[in-house]
Every structure is written in structure tokens, then in C-alpha cells.
Amino acid sequence: MATERTGLLIIRAWVEEGSSAPLRAQLSMTSDVSAGMERTSVHSDVDDVGIEVEGWLREILRGPELIAP
């Protein structure tokens, strides 16, 4: 049965032409939208974005009592 809690993750991504690492990915996320956005991060590496998304999904699975501050 689904819980009432809903997480939200927004990735704003764009490319900075001419940069040595052209990807810009800004993540805003929460594991419970009723609490608003809990944190943001920025990355220029695709793998780092993947790791961040995976961590957020695992937080959703674990539930609020185990989420790191």
C-alpha cells in the first residue's frame, strides 16, 4: 500500500559550451514534499548525478526516520 509521503527531485541541466566540464546539473530534492525542498546540489559529472539520484531513491525507500539531516 502506498504511503502518503511523496518525494520530489528536480534536475535542472544545461551545457556550458567551452567549459572543461560542460555539464551543469543542479538538483533540488526532498523525500517529503510537505516539508518543502530539503537540499540542493550541483554537479558537472554524469556519474555523480546518477549517484545522487540513487541516494535520494534509497532515502525514499528507507523512510523519514532514517534520512540523514
Partner: protein, 268 residues
């Protein structure tokens, strides 16, 4: 330092430069008896010069939804969007209930038929006029209106759409508006620089970098505006502040394109 903390420090630095813009973000309501709905920043419903007290949540959601739609929406689509987790019959029932609970003043703003719902033609919605300004600014071949190149336009483009609302239909509209307004503010800054109005060009560019510090086109617009005013030291300060922030966040340097804009970087 945590990424969020660094970002906060950077934004606070920019906000010190831009604080005089924020106080003019939302202008006074129209002087006529028009109904006016604001979705930039917090939700507000104005009747002439009077701001209605906070409306019930259900009424706010329905009115905000209609404010974001330029045309009439079928009841089926409105109900399915506003109550996505409900069954079709429950969503339709919730829409009827929300319409019936509108107070007399707000009910005048809504046209509801058996088929669809929309705002009445005379309801003024802030984001609609701001979008129109944005599109005129971005269209290099378009015809500008007299006030398009003004601090009023900077204010109209400086606020996010319902930033604390997380419904799917709001998040998508909010991101769409964010991208549009950032492009428009950069275009506005460029046009003001071309018009030899660097002070206002700086304000427009600051509105971009305070929203999105890592957006290099915004930083470039700010550097150009300072140079147009003859302030190389300010341009250099902006560059160094951005370079420091970029290094802390991502461990990289600004592009050669941005570096080439700052003459002081190439001085012997």
C-alpha cells in the same frame, strides 16, 4: 563547506547587490475594478485595490490552475490534473465541490459551463503579462512596447511562479517560466546595454545571477554591463566572485569566452 552553504553565501553576496530590485517585484493592483490574480511569488487575489484575505486551499488551487491556462479547459482535464490520484468520478465530484465553494467575488472570475472552465476575459493574471514581455524581449525582430525596456520589466521577470507549490501541474509550469524569464532577463540586459543604459542592464543581469549563479551567460551579461558603464574593476570583481564560486562547487574555471570579456585579466 557544504554545497548548499556555499550556494547560500554566494547568493547572499549577489542579493546585497540586487536588494533594491526585490522591493519592486510586485506592482500595485490595477486602479480599475478589475479582478487580478497573482501567481508570481505567493498566490494573491485582488479586487481593484483590495487584496482578499487568504482563500481556502481548494479555491486557491482551482484559481491558480485556471490562471496558468490561457484557454478554457474541459472539466475532465481540469479534474484529472487537479486530483490526479482520484478516480474519474471522484475527481469530477471534487471539481464541482471546489467550484461551488468559491466565494461570491472569486466566483465572478470563473466561467464554468457543463463542458469546460476558464477565467472570465477581464481577469488580469500577472504571469500572462510577464510572459508576453518575455517573448517580446527574446524575439530580436519583435516590436517592443515603451515600458519593455524598464525596471518594471525587470521586476516582472524577477519572481518564480508559486515557488512553494509542488503539484505536478505547478512544477512543470514553474520550470517553464523560470527558463523563459532567465532568457528574457539576459535579453533585456543586452538590449539595455546596447541602449547605453548600463545601470538598468546591471539590475537585469543581477536578477539572473541571483537566481542561477552557475549560469555563465548571466555572468557574462553582468560583466558586459559593468564594462559598458566603464567599471572594469566591478567587472573583474564579478568575474572573480563567479570563478571562486565555480571552483568551490565544481572544481573548474570559467570558460575562455568569459575570461576574454574581462580586460584586466589580460593586462601585463
Amino acid at each position: 563547506m557544504e554545497s548548499a552553504s556555499r550556494d547560500r553565501v554566494y547568493r547572499e553576496s549577489v542579493v546585497r547587490d540586487v536588494k533594491h530590485i526585490r522591493s519592486t517585484t510586485r506592482g500595485p493592483p490595477l486602479s480599475s475594478d478589475a479582478l487580478r490574480v497573482s501567481v508570481l511569488g505567493t498566490f494573491q487575489f485582488w479586487v481593484a485595490d483590495h487584496l482578499l484575505p487568504t482563500l481556502p486551499g481548494g479555491s486557491q488551487r482551482l484559481l491558480a490552475f485556471l490562471a496558468l491556462r490561457e484557454r478554457a479547459v474541459t472539466r475532465f482535464a481540469a479534474a484529472g490534473t487537479l486530483w490526479p490520484d482520484a478516480t474519474e468520478s471522484h475527481a469530477s465530484s471534487s471539481l464541482r465541490s471546489a467550484l461551488s465553494r468559491l466565494e461570491s467575488v472569486t466566483r465572478h472570475a470563473v466561467v464554468a459551463t457543463s463542458i469546460d472552465v476558464s477565467f472570465a476575459d477581464d481577469v488580469v493574471v500577472d504571469v500572462r503579462s510577464s510572459r508576453a514581455i518575455a517573448h517580446r524581449l527574446i524575439d530580436r525582430d519583435g516590436v517592443l512596447r515603451p515600458l519593455d525596456l524598464s525596471t518594471d520589466s525587470i521586476a516582472a521577470l524577477s519572481t518564480d511562479l508559486l515557488p512553494d507549490w509542488y503539484d505536478d501541474w505547478v512544477v512543470i509550469e514553474s520550470e517553464d517560466w523560470r527558463q523563459l524569464r532567465l532568457h528574457a532577463l539576459e535579453a533585456l540586459s543586452s538590449r539595455l546595454t546596447d541602449e547605453r543604459r548600463p545601470g538598468e542592464a546591471i539590475q537585469a543581469a543581477l536578477a539572473v545571477v541571483s537566481t542561477e549563479p552557475l549560469r555563465e551567460s548571466g555572468q557574462a551579461a553582468l560583466v558586459r554591463a559593468h564594462l559598458a558603464e566603464g567599471n572594469q574593476s566591478e567587472a573583474l570583481r564579478v568575474y572573480r566572485r563567479y570563478a571562486t564560486h565555480l571552483h568551490h562547487e565544481l572544481g573548474i574555471e570559467p570558460t575562455k569566452g568569459l575570461q576574454s570579456l574581462v580586460p584586466s585579466l589580460h593586462s601585463p
